[in-house]
Symmetry: C2
Subunit: 201 residues, 2 copies
């Protein structure tokens, strides 16, 4: 590639990243049917540029979803070396909740029978279950987290808590996720969760 070609490619890549970030924010605020013009405006590019990168809404939606999975997985790797694995897991859960909140909107935009949605769901699990596992392992190694906490089950539980509706809004979901995590720390409670599970059987 010529030097000029490389500069152009780097510029296109920056524009694409800016568009993905703008689209993610806009989708969270206005839903996935937000006007493409709003996304262009937030990314400070023209509407033509949006369509050059993403010929239709479905392609943009899928790209946003993949981008968010990547970001969430990368964040776990970054946080895995944190001296405070407990805060690290909380921060990661925060990012995962944000991802889920956007994801619900994204799923609604794609046809539910769309094979790409199933593919994206598998991609999400393939990438994020091990990512979450890294942080769980670090917190268990420090004696902060109950070793019986399982990444997949925890993520499913967080996913369920993020199903919002009238009377149970996003801020409620966030507060409940924070409480669920608080119940996973080893100093969570004088009654151990194992006792709780026993009582619930």
């Amino acid at each position: 590639m010529s030097r000029e070609g490389g500069v152009r490619e780097a510029g296109a890549q920056r524009t694409r990243q800016a568009l993905l970030a703008a689209a993610a924010h806009t989708f969270v605020e206005q839903g996935v049917n937000a006007p493409m013009r709003a996304i262009a405006g937030r990314a400070q590019v023209g509407l033509g540029t949006v369509y050059r990168h993403f010929p239709n809404r479905a392609e943009l939606v899928i790209a946003v979803y993949r981008h968010q999975i990547d970001e969430c997985a990368d964040l776990a790797v970054e946080l895995a070396d944190s001296p405070d694995p407990r805060s690290a897991l909380s921060r990661w859960a925060d990012a995962f909740v944000e991802f889920l909140v956007t994801k619900h909107g994204l799923g609604a935009a794609l046809q539910s029978e769309d094979a790409s949605l199933q593919t994206l769901h598998s991609l999400m699990l393939d990438r994020l279950v091990p990512a979450c596992g890294l942080l769980i392992d670090a917190a268990v190694a420090r004696g902060q987290l109950d070793p019986s906490v399982n990444a997949y089950v925890l993520m499913r539980a967080i996913g369920n808590l993020c199903i919002v509706g009238p009377g149970y809004e996003r801020q409620d979901a966030r507060a409940m996720v924070a409480r669920l995590l608080a119940g996973c720390w080893l100093d969570a409670s004088s009654t151990s969760v194992a006792d709780g599970e026993q009582a619930l059987h």
Copy 2:
């Protein structure tokens, strides 16, 4: 009513209660399409007796749902005077989880567009939100529970955690509900949930 009539009435009432209990257990184990014969067998009555009390499956399903709401509400009243409000709330949550696990089956059996399902859902909230509130108030009064815990939001969160599927089974749901409650006690964590919420915003 004659003495004889009263005795007959009391007997019919006992049979009805036995049938409801048998149906609830059978539905949990085998689903709401379990053979009526299995319910009759568990209640130790003939099949004719089942149909005399509940002419069709939908009537039985609705009666079981109402019966379980009553039982769950009564349990809260019983537990409200407990000297240990924390254990009382845990025990009640246990019963509510059992109710939810049955309820999911019941809902599937009735047509979702069935108005009776909506009526039952409203009845459930009308009766169980104040019931849960009683136990929350008692635990808050003892300084055991975070006063920001709201009965409706907590019940929605528990309801969400009870949405099970492959890889996230009933025992996982029960364990996650126990952790969520553990995160609601005032000694739950050295980081307060309020801080957690802040971090998640």
